[in-house]
Symmetry: C2
Subunit: 211 residues, 2 copies
């Protein structure tokens, strides 16, 4: 992602360019490979320029994470609303959107969930991540309402669903899946589909036992 020749002295949108280039670098070489100096060079700008847009390296990463959570939420909403209207299909759509987001926005994804991520300290950031999280919560509760998921506290169901897609995304993105044996792109819908069928089956099972 080399940057287009800048028009003149002023860049135009250096702030966004820095984010875009950062994400690209992190995607390819990992977070530890990101240096502000190399970044400025790649953006075609001197080493001091980024400081007119970000207080420091941490602020840049926080901005990336924020953009990531916003995009993730957007992607999940779109995919959910394009799915068939039954809750299980909607849950499936959200799960697939999550994994797809991680794979096609790996740079963002890595920053969003980095250990010691600034999420804990930045209010806007944790608000954005909670909004995304609530989407999942909502659709799990929809499933419960139509008995497509076991009744009771939705907590474990929500965290199980989140863990499932987060784990798959992480393993994929980190190259831990044995790609010789398995095609992750095919695996993702299989796994999210499996979750849906399992939830339905367990709900039916427990419903039958209760009756």
């Amino acid at each position: 992602m080399r940057v287009k020749k800048k028009a003149g002295y002023h860049h135009g949108d250096l702030r966004q360019t820095l984010i875009d280039v950062s994400v690209d670098v992190i995607d390819r070489d990992g977070l530890e490979a990101l240096s502000l100096r190399a970044l400025a060079t790649r953006a075609g700008v001197s080493s001091g320029a980024p400081y007119h847009h970000f207080a420091d390296r941490a602020a840049l990463l926080a901005a990336i994470a924020l953009e990531g959570f916003e995009r993730l939420e957007q992607a999940m909403i779109e995919r959910r609303d394009a799915a068939p209207p039954d809750p299980v299909s909607r849950l499936d759509a959200i799960g697939q959107a999550y994994v797809a987001f991680a794979v096609s926005n790996t740079g963002h994804f890595r920053v969003m969930f980095r250990d010691n991520s600034p999420a804990a300290r930045n209010a806007a950031l944790s608000a954005a991540s909670q909004k995304a999280y609530r989407l999942l919560f909502g659709v799990v509760e929809e499933c419960q309402r139509v008995a497509a998921a076991p009744a009771g506290d939705p907590g474990p169901l929500v965290y199980a669903a989140w863990s499932l897609v987060h784990g798959l995304a992480t393993l994929w993105v980190d190259g831990a899946l044995p790609t010789a044996r398995v095609d992750p792109a095919r695996l993702a819908p299989e796994v999210t589909g499996l979750l849906g069928r399992m939830l339905v089956a367990l709900a039916r099972d427990e419903g039958a036992r209760r009756a």
Copy 2:
């Protein structure tokens, strides 16, 4: 984990000490905070000493990852064999061992699954990780054999189970779980238990449909 006063000129077991201190540093401050120089200082040794035991920084990390996979496998075996003999309990035990390992060996865990981890390039390392992975595979097949999991290709089941525990472990270790609302220590058995019940329910469901 300050290191005991060294006996004399020779350290005794500097190699293992370096690994232990590294893991401790990574656990607390993350992988990017690990420098060989600071590490040597913390181990009470000069900056050149580590090079008598590891060719470079990457070799140290590879050794940590290898030890991690070996310990993970060991922990899963122990927990599995201490569980009730039915396959679902054994699967549950393995899952809980996985999460528990990540939480109490965070330094190892981070190195093991780091993006661009050396796993891809180091034969011993990928062998060790595959051994651990096969444990999970084996117990899922046990479940299938007693119809405690849906019949057919075990692949999706295995990867779903792996994703579930890996995701939970990762979210926990990275501090992404909202600990104000949820106690991860209580969540782990709930989630692995849920998986077991879902597998059983789905197997019953599909068995009934087939009959």
